[in-house]
């Protein structure tokens, strides 16, 4: 996650320099350790917020910038790694701080499985996060879940790097 934040900062700097084309931003992202594609998609998503230094409390942007909005899984697995637990634990703290916030956990899978199995796997991944949050004291009715299976990949490309980015759960402020 640190690498990703670095990449975003790198893009933000380029943006503020007012000289970045998409291609330049992408190559900068690659240099920071993220793939060109994810850097690009990050840029398009963060364009509206990256120039601001303060995010609305309890907003998606604050969650994304202060903690990160996603955790990753191994192939066909849905248990939370130590790194994923650290991030989801921060989500729990953040939700306790912002008691009015409701979130939806999206569960996603990579393209190397059949559609129906991946829908079930995405549901598992979303609920693994929800269960972890509630185990830390977040009220269950503040966390909804949805599985997108393999339908909404984050990274494009038929390679392990893309697949590992797509095996994920994403926290979305509702």
């Amino acid at each position: 996650m640190k690498l990703k934040n670095l990449a975003i900062i790198g893009i933000a700097l380029l943006m503020s320099a007012c000289a970045a084309t998409n291609d330049q931003a992408a190559s900068s992202g690659s240099a920071s350790g993220a793939s060109g594609d994810s850097a690009k998609s990050q840029m398009s998503r963060d364009v509206s917020t990256s120039s601001s230094s303060a995010y609305a409390p309890g907003s998606q942007e604050e969650l994304q910038e202060s903690i990160g909005d996603r955790v990753f899984f191994d192939t066909d697995r849905y248990d939370l790694s130590a790194e994923a637990q650290a991030i989801a634990g921060s989500w729990a703290d953040w939700m306790k701080k912002h008691q009015n916030v409701q979130i939806e956990i999206e569960g996603h899978a990579d393209e190397r499985g059949t559609r129906e199995y991946n829908l079930a796997l995405g549901a598992r991944r979303a609920n693994a996060v929800k269960d972890f949050l509630t185990s830390l004291g977040v009220q269950a009715n503040r966390v909804s879940t949805v599985s997108y299976g393999t339908e909404r990949p984050e990274a494009l490309g038929s390679n392990e790097e893309a697949w590992s980015k797509n095996r994920r759960s994403v926290a979305v402020v509702r």
């Binding site: 559609r115 199995y117 079930a120 549901a123 693994a128 599985s147 339908e151 494009l156 490309g157």
Partner: protein, 441 residues
């Protein structure tokens, strides 16, 4: 969406005809690698000005059907010695033997006083010098393609002893848009790709459509209202309903062979199990209760058993259980991961997707798991669906995607269960999740 064939009259044109079982001219569908049977398919002769030009079209569609099965090869008409017009009156069999035709098809098309068309055709055994079957169809002009499919089905049945599958349709998911935000719509077409139309607008993500075997209905999964749920769509009335109040996602729907029940998976607190819904009483029964993923259920033709996909043994594999949910046992032991089991309408085989060595393939095995055979393999393919005669499987393939999202072409294919190279079914754009209809009533 109505497809009304106003009148369909099979006519016996000659007395003392053989039955399909008695026919001497017969090819076996069991060996997929055999040489295709050479047949002479004469363009149908127009008997009126209004039907001019239809004769060639009628023949062309039926020829395409028969050749797509890879069991038949139509002889180039420029080789014909006797003219089709003369053959339609009385074949001179020696002329057809000379060009090595095993079977000869002749026919006529004419206009009825009420504006409908009348198509007559005869199938001849060239070596036996006899008529095998003759039929006549009277229908609206716009139904002409369906007549061709019925003609092809009749020929297929007489020459193979198996039911045809050409007078059928396919529902599938038409894909468009960016690879990470695909727009998916339900689309329906004839089995040969003709008469293509869309059933949904693309506003909601839709997946895994399947035909009802008994009604003009399609069950599918939709993200309408951002709630992924199984729905049932009537393609005649456009009535579209969800399955009623179920918490959590419902998915992987499939009708029972009698059309009275619906199998599906429901997810509760992250765990997916298999359920069956009685479509009349709306009574829902849980069939599996296991902390592993249980999905992709499919009934056996006698509805006594259900095959499904589960990772209860540590990786996705195929299991068969009694239709009350008891006695679940694993049937896939070939190595690799297995998914999407679909029971053949004949009951003898189960089609599946297998993932092994980084590649995906479509295969079949007996319902006890024995005699596994792979029919196709590629970078990615899944979603097998059976033609109603249980001889042909359709599925979809997707090519790899590069980092810019290029590639990732998704296409429909058919493969004979006996073997042979898969053949693409043309669609207007990217296509996935095909489902074959039953034979039209």
């Amino acid at each position: 969406m109505k497809r009304i064939l106003q009148i369909l009259i099979p006519l016996v044109l000659m007395l003392n005809m053989a039955s399909p079982a008695q026919s001497q001219l017969r090819i076996s569908v069991e060996d997929g690698l055999r040489e295709p049977l050479p047949i002479a398919f004469a363009p149908f002769i127009a008997k009126s000005g209004s039907s001019a030009g239809m004769g060639q079209n009628l023949a062309d569609v039926a020829i395409a059907d028969l050749e797509s099965s890879r069991l038949f090869r139509a002889i180039d008409p420029t080789a014909f010695i006797q003219t089709p017009a003369a053959a339609a009156i009385a074949p001179r069999f020696s002329d057809w033997r000379q060009i090595n035709a095993q079977a000869l098809i002749t026919g006529t098309v004419g206009g009825e006083p009420d504006g409908r068309i009348r198509v007559e055709f005869r199938l001849w055994d060239v070596l036996g010098e006899s008529q095998l079957v003759g039929q006549a169809y009277v229908t609206q002009k716009e139904n002409w393609r369906r007549v061709s499919h019925l003609v092809a089905d009749t020929i297929y049945k007489w020459l193979t002893g198996e039911k045809g599958y050409f007078d059928t349709r396919v529902v599938y998911v038409a894909e468009s848009g960016a690879a990470d935000r695909k727009i998916k719509r339900l689309a329906i077409m004839d089995q040969d790709g003709a008469n293509h139309s869309y059933l949904t607008s693309g506003r909601n993500l839709v997946l895994t459509p399947r035909f009802s075997p008994s009604r003009q209905e399609i069950t599918y999964m939709s993200y309408a209202g951002r709630r992924p749920r199984v729905r049932i769509l009537n393609v005649d009335t456009n009535q579209d309903e969800t399955l009623g109040p179920i918490d959590g996602m419902t998915f992987a729907p499939r009708f029972s062979p009698d059309g009275e029940k619906l199998l599906f998976s429901a997810e509760q607190r992250g765990n997916s199990d298999v359920f069956v819904l009685d479509l009349r009483s709306r009574k829902r029964v849980r069939l599996t209760n296991h902390p592993a993923i249980d999905t992709s259920p499919s009934f056996s033709p006698n509805q006594r058993e259900v095959v499904f996909n589960s990772d209860r043994g540590g990786s996705p594999q195929l299991y068969v259980m009694a239709s009350d949910g008891t006695n679940a046992r694993r049937i896939s032991f070939g190595g690799g991961r297995y998914a999407t089991p679909v029971w053949s309408p004949r009951g003898d085989l189960i089609a599946f997707t297998k993932i092994e060595g980084g590649r995906f393939g479509i295969g079949v095995m007996r319902s006890d798991g024995s005699n596994e055979r792979m029919l196709s393999q590629s970078y990615f393919e899944e979603s097998p669906t059976w033609a109603p005669n249980g001889r042909v499987i359709m599925f979809f393939r997707r090519t790899p995607t590069d980092r810019q999202g290029r590639g990732g072409k998704s296409r429909l294919f058919i493969v004979d269960v006996a073997g042979g190279e898969p053949r693409e079914i043309k669609t207007p754009g990217d296509a996935s999740d095909p489902a074959w209809s039953p034979l039209s009533p």
